[in-house]
Point group: C2
Amino acid sequence: MAKQEQSATEAVAPLLRVIPLGGLGEIGKNMLVLESGENLLIIDAGLMFPTSEMHGIDIVIPDGTYVIDRLEQVRGVVLTHGHEDHIGALPYFVEQGLRAPVYATALTQGLLEVKLREQKLLGEADLHVITADDVIELGPFTVEFFHTTHSFPDSVGVSVTTPAGRIIHTSDYRFDPTPVDGRPTEEQKLRKWGDEGVLLLLADSTNAERRGSTDSEATVETMLEEVMSQAEGRILLATFASNLGRVQQVINVARRHGRRLGVIGRSMVNNVRIAIKLGYLDIAEDELLTAGEMESLPGNQVVIVATGSQGEPTSAMVRMSMGDHRQLALREGDTVVLSATPIPGNEELFNRTVDNLFRQGANVLYHELGNVHVSGHGGQDDYIRMLDLTRPRYFVPVHGEYRHLVLHARLAERWGLPKDRIFVIEDGETLEFGGFAGDSEMTARRGEKLEAGHVYVDGLGVGDIGNVVLRDRKQLSQEGFIVCIIAVDEYDGEIIYGPEIISRGFVYMREQEDLIRRAQEAVSKVVKKKAPTAVLENKIKDALGNFAAREIGRRPMVLPLVIEV
Amino acid sequence: MAKQEQSATEAVAPLLRVIPLGGLGEIGKNMLVLESGENLLIIDAGLMFPTSEMHGIDIVIPDGTYVIDRLEQVRGVVLTHGHEDHIGALPYFVEQGLRAPVYATALTQGLLEVKLREQKLLGEADLHVITADDVIELGPFTVEFFHTTHSFPDSVGVSVTTPAGRIIHTSDYRFDPTPVDGRPTEEQKLRKWGDEGVLLLLADSTNAERRGSTDSEATVETMLEEVMSQAEGRILLATFASNLGRVQQVINVARRHGRRLGVIGRSMVNNVRIAIKLGYLDIAEDELLTAGEMESLPGNQVVIVATGSQGEPTSAMVRMSMGDHRQLALREGDTVVLSATPIPGNEELFNRTVDNLFRQGANVLYHELGNVHVSGHGGQDDYIRMLDLTRPRYFVPVHGEYRHLVLHARLAERWGLPKDRIFVIEDGETLEFGGFAGDSEMTARRGEKLEAGHVYVDGLGVGDIGNVVLRDRKQLSQEGFIVCIIAVDEYDGEIIYGPEIISRGFVYMREQEDLIRRAQEAVSKVVKKKAPTAVLENKIKDALGNFAAREIGRRPMVLPLVIEV
């Protein structure tokens, strides 16, 4: 009986599949695919910055095999805003042949163009600028947008009307009654869609740990007011280059205090220029201070925005904290505001930067000392409000590490959604929607699990590095290596050269000549007798491994090489 | 005139030198030396856990060259409490020949004995147990103690009467009206010493960023009460193995709720045993649950304390979060409390552990969700109170990264100390006290700066690893290496073997045979002509470096080896 039901269920093809390729169970590289029949819609294609275990990796992009195998089925790509974790992987998909139209608001499009141009792919992409009031038909999908408040101007969330019903994907958002751009998240659209019926809500979980709501951006303005009235010298404020809302706040307050704006840090300069050009910043390019003016004007007429709010090693602020920035030197009396909260994993770099800024004599304000930053993501109260507005039938928490998804799911349950309408899924775990119950009601079920891992980008290599290389890098980072070479006569098998030892990261070779000599002796002892190359190599490996462990308690990677000449 | 004054000043020998060897400008490896004539007094000798840049390093100890060179002048060592960052380096000094008497309270001594025994040094050390009411004469120093509230039972701060006057060193402390052990920090002693006159206060700066005071330990008890009343299954609480106060709290609350205590994790089991033996925990060893009972008893009768509150990879809690602990498996319905705040740098490991515990089906409580932990260090209000009690003539903030020292110094200035009586100094920067002003008043001046860096311990090697090896390990971790070998005929210089390439961490050799072949070709091209070995090696290095950069955008370490056979 149960069996019969099950096969009846399986016979019904889904009307819609939800395929998360990134951002569920892990922060970053956000990418969601909706599939209906042979039609795919992609929402965002972001990158992730490597965790500390991903040695030497530059960036991480989603494993998009499922999409790459079906490029001709992609009806469109929608980008919700211009942060790296939402657009950074798109050039790699274009490189793989993605030619479907890409829709985004103007500033997002502007930043994407820079990326595509850098990778010489601008001519390959089919870019379209939209506004939050546009409606786009893409195959079976009708895509609408709602403006959201986030730390990127002109961000949008997405509503997709699919054959199974309406899906709302919030992307990154918050509710803020007093946003910098004066345009709050469009609640009226959300409420209207909620009235009409929402099949599935996919909602941002980044701050699921935060009770209440996030402070208004206006609190940062209050902080800026205070700092600008009190500081007698220059003010330097570090923030993400993409946080152009913060830059606008600085401009607003600076005007009231007779301070003029300087910009340093390559990506900040680029972004500010694009934003000015596209009308996203209320300042003219020729109003900006030159490097000379930043040094020569009286300190109380200067405010500078810079990169480096996370302590990124090559950023302007970090170079200044070390006293080796090309253009600008900090001086006693400068006030530095690090307008950010360190991302988990960045605390060491962040704290060291604060220490070094203090060592330079600057007065430093950072998150532990005041309201220097507010998150662009809402807290639990925002989540409840989103549920209130949209009243979805099903709910999937997205954009979060696993604990955030669980906490957001619990919140939705407390809000009133039955537990079986909430799915905590991770990247690659699909959901299917269709009339599986046999009546007209749409229901959801878990679908097959796809491969959806990391694709590592290291230099020019995309995807060639996997766990083997990373494991080697980890061992090398902790223990170093020993290569041991001997040459044997190809005719009589006598050792005619070596053992020669090359080693790095194991001991300081120059000061450990005696240790190295004894290591050579340990090898010599075990390779006295003639033997096949492979046997000799194994003996060398064991001898050196044991020697290193016994003599100095380390486990270097040992690579023997026996050559026959 | 000014010059004359100066030389007059320099002629006066200091009566006391304060020599910080660790813990000032950097958290951990706390070690302070007081010097008067040819007499040294050491307060604490701790270790530091490596930062993420110290690849492969096990622990870091202070550079104690100044002490090692003057071992016969050491009159005594005082240990304030048994945390690793206060006692962990002592065995290394004993190994170097330190035989002066070591004074500590019983539990600190007990933990130190374990360390010394492990390193086969117990017979070499001259250990003495003291209580907070003892007075010790050590050469020109009279050492007294005051009990402090800290996350280690029976912690003390130190007063040292020196020829220059009284020095108070708080070590780690907080004020707490309701401490777990019922013994608050001894304010009456501090006030009395303050009345008598304090030349110098050296005070803990760990929480200098925290406004107000730290919550009482009693708030953790409230949390434990709540969790134990609500949880229907087992409760597992992770904390530092040395936080025996927390363990006692668990015992207290568990008794009221009919739960029995289990202990897992090697260091936790060891510490609990020692603490029971020395009377620091109010429980008998045979009351503890066996591993079998932790599994078989009804969940609501079980509470388990475990190591792993920081997400330490080999700890009991982390193994359980991965489902591979030897003794215990988590199950649905278990409640896990991570009773700690992640130390900066540990957030990634910590967060991953929380995620994995949720994946195991446990309900997880951690610092973002409630009052699971309070710091053993006071906040700014405690600092003010310490100044109120001791009213020192001079002030040096200790135990903190640079920003903490600066913030604590500012606080002391706001409290009322003149700026020139406050010294922000870092490890190795000495202070001298004497009658430099020519009258009877003791004054302070900066003395010479000593070497006081890191000594890295890696395996059995103490101090052999320096920046060269660490730089190599860093490069290896990010780029890997290529070793390229060719053999040339020692008579005619013809290449008779190679180029052979060995590489790890650069590309996945098995899947990149073509790339490796082309790398060999690139080498072959540049070594066609006979040349001296060094010339050939340089050519190989350049050729492979350029090849890797051009072909795959990476910069591996390239090590050429030309052998003559």
